[in-house]
């Protein structure tokens, strides 16, 4: 690959400088425009670039997941030129970490009922409300935020999408301990947080549409990552199986073989989806990837614990984790963390609704909240 070769000739050796230079060379996301980390090239080319740069400094996809998977495509689709210039580079290099301020105590699956208010005050917006389950808020520099700007409209129409400055006065991040013992996510209290209007993404009142772009990308980001055949979680399980012949049983064997097949067909449909996506934004089909990934990951991690016959757990210590380290910890952790896969980024039930209605065209259930102003909805 010529571009990669040319870039590597003069590439700096310092990790951060290297990543900055890689962005500037258009090798961050090749399908992004020139000047914004891309070359305006077809998406397929990214794989080749990744292969060619496999032995160079890499991104930390754990901590950077929300920035890379959700914020970036949304900023690209809805941001102004200034916003794109300001945010994309440090997002990609990992100099600025992102989190997602969507869910609230009263609005999870029904995200559009959220109550966090943003009120306009001249060139600024004043934000008040509470978010919850915010992964990585404790090390985030920026957040994507959906807030209600017009409570008199039906729920989907009164929302606006912002970039929230996590260092602004009034942002209070508190750890929320989770099922695994650690605190990977948080509660975030927003009290009189002032955001300038140039941190708004998309039009006032258009927040739901902007959020859809984020959500569809999120579903592909969770579970859509490329793995090699027999790699990822099934690889881990299969390796344990190969290494511990004394633990193998006939019952588990039949399940392992079936899971191996399921992992492989799931991987193949991911490859196929990415080929389809090469042309544009993910559609509702991406929900299928997340749904199958969640189910499979849960089956595999449950299998692993059972196979190991180990009643222990590696570490219950309450601590702030930097990222979800699925493979770095023990089977017990993996089993528990995988339970989140069918909840985070849209529960499996919601994803089935999306597939049924938007992919298969089945009629929606009777809606009681359609034309009711948000402020009159039962909550």
């Amino acid at each position: 690959m010529d571009v990669v070769d040319r870039f590597l000739e003069n590439a700096p050796s310092d990790r951060l400088e290297f990543l900055r230079a890689r962005f500037d060379a258009g090798l961050a996301w090749v399908h992004f425009p020139v000047g914004l980390g891309g070359l305006g090239a077809p998406r397929e080319m990214q794989q080749e670039v990744e292969r060619a740069l496999a032995h160079t400094p890499q991104l930390d996809t754990g901590v950077q997941a929300i920035g890379l998977g959700m914020a970036a495509p949304t900023i690209l689709a809805f941001g102004t030129e200034e916003q794109k210039k300001r945010f994309l580079r440090p997002l990609w290099t990992g100099e600025e970490i992102w989190c997602q301020l969507f869910s609230e105590p009263g609005a999870g699956s029904d995200l559009a009922t959220l109550a966090t208010r943003a009120v306009r005050d001249g060139d600024e917006w004043v934000v008040d409300g509470q978010k919850v389950w915010t992964s990585g808020a404790h090390h985030a520099r920026w957040a994507i935020l959906v807030a209600r700007t017009d409570p008199d409209l039906p729920k989907h129409r009164g929302l606006t999408y912002f970039i929230c400055d996590m260092h602004a006065p009034g942002v209070d991040v508190r750890p929320l301990r989770q099922i695994t013992g650690e605190a990977e996510f948080n509660e975030v209290f927003l009290t009189g947080v002032r955001l300038s209007d140039d941190l708004r993404l998309g039009e006032v009142g258009d927040g739901w549409r902007v959020a859809q772009t984020t959500l569809m990308n999120e579903r592909v980001a969770i579970g859509g990552a490329p793995v090699r055949r027999g790699g990822g979680m099934i690889g881990l399980v299969a390796d344990a199986w190969r290494e511990r012949p004394e633990l193998r049983t006939h019952d588990l064997y039949q399940r392992l073989l079936a899971l191996w097949v399921e992992a492989e067909v799931t991987r193949l449909s991911g490859v196929r989806l990415r080929e389809q996506l090469a042309a544009g934004q993910p559609g509702p089909e991406g929900s299928g990837m997340k749904l199958s990934f969640a189910k499979l990951n849960q089956a595999l991690t449950g299998f692993e614990v059972e196979f190991n016959r180990d009643l222990g757990y590696d570490d219950w210590a309450f601590r702030r984790s930097d990222s979800v380290d699925f493979l770095g910890r023990g089977p017990g952790y993996r089993y528990l963390r995988a339970k989140g896969n069918s909840i985070e980024g849209g529960t499996s039930e919601i994803l089935r609704n999306i597939i049924a209605e938007r992919v298969l065209g089945l009629p929606s259930e009777p809606r009681v909240d359609k034309d009711v102003p948000w402020k009159d909805l039962p909550r």
């Binding site: 006939h250 039949q254 073989l257 067909v265 193949l268 749904l291 039930e349 065209g361 089945l362 259930e365």
Partner: protein
Amino acid sequence: MTLLYTDVEDELRAAVRDLLADRCPPAAVLARVEDEPHDLDLWKTLARDIGVAGLLIPEEYGGAGASAREAAVVLEELGRAVTPVPFFTSSVLATHALLQAGAGELLRGVAEGDLTVALVVPFSVSPYREVGGAVTVTDGRLTGVVSAVAGADVADVLLVPVDGTLHAVPAAEATVEVTPSLDLTRPIATVTFADSVAEPLGAVDVGRTLRFGAGLLASEQLGVAEWCLETTLAYVKERYQFARPVGSFQAIKHRLADLWLDVVRARAAARAATDGTALAAAVAQAWNAGVAVHVAEEAVQLHGGIGMTWEHPLHLFLKRAKSTELALGTPGDHRDALAELADLPGPVRAEPDRPELNRAGLS
């Protein structure tokens, strides 16, 4: 290799689908299924006019020199219509054996659509076991009985593997007796050779042919599953109960979403299996066979009473799905094969007797 469909494949699909929509709607298949299931007129048109008979045959023998990918697309369409024609048995399975044996003349006949051939093995044979023993050769003549052979009833030439050699027997030299089969649209027959004149064609590794066939059969299973899913979707949208379309109930929607996901994965598996590797074929069979059955069973359930009637063509698809689950190896056979292909060794065998237990008086 891409897992998507190429333009050429899409064109071929459109040609086959158009013809089938015209000549082979489910009602037509249903109407003939008890008397004369195979539609040989349709087969002629498909074989000659669209040229599917010689898809896998190289151009030097008058074929199209196409790859397994194109044959797979044809199989999807034939599955979607449970088309009663011997494409799979003659142009895929038996043709693969002929190609191995280097039987140029017969291949030419097949490519032109004049000759239909059948591989004489039980259709439920596992590609991972030794086949044979049922037929013996003495002085160039065959003797023996093979049951549950698919495509034999309409074959002009029967291809019989005996001890690694493929033999050709003109249909008239054998007794072919159709027996009732679960799959009404792909009849099976008992083939009896009694001192039948046979011509040895060349060496054949039947296991290879069966594995190749199994890989492609996954595309037919995909087609069956797709039809069942689409038909069920259409039905639950138009069928009202409790003053709502049945398809607006979440319990139904979620089941259909799950079926869709199974089919999406079956499509990827079927596409991957056209690469001809044993592993991809085993994966596709282990997955698609079950998916076709599951989708067909769910389709019957979600059609309610209508789904149980002879009048509705759904049963033809269920029967095809359940039979192909056994054809060329069950999902379990293919999963077993994966043990080796994917390096997943089985449990260590338990000791036949366990003296330490006996000593402890626990036996």
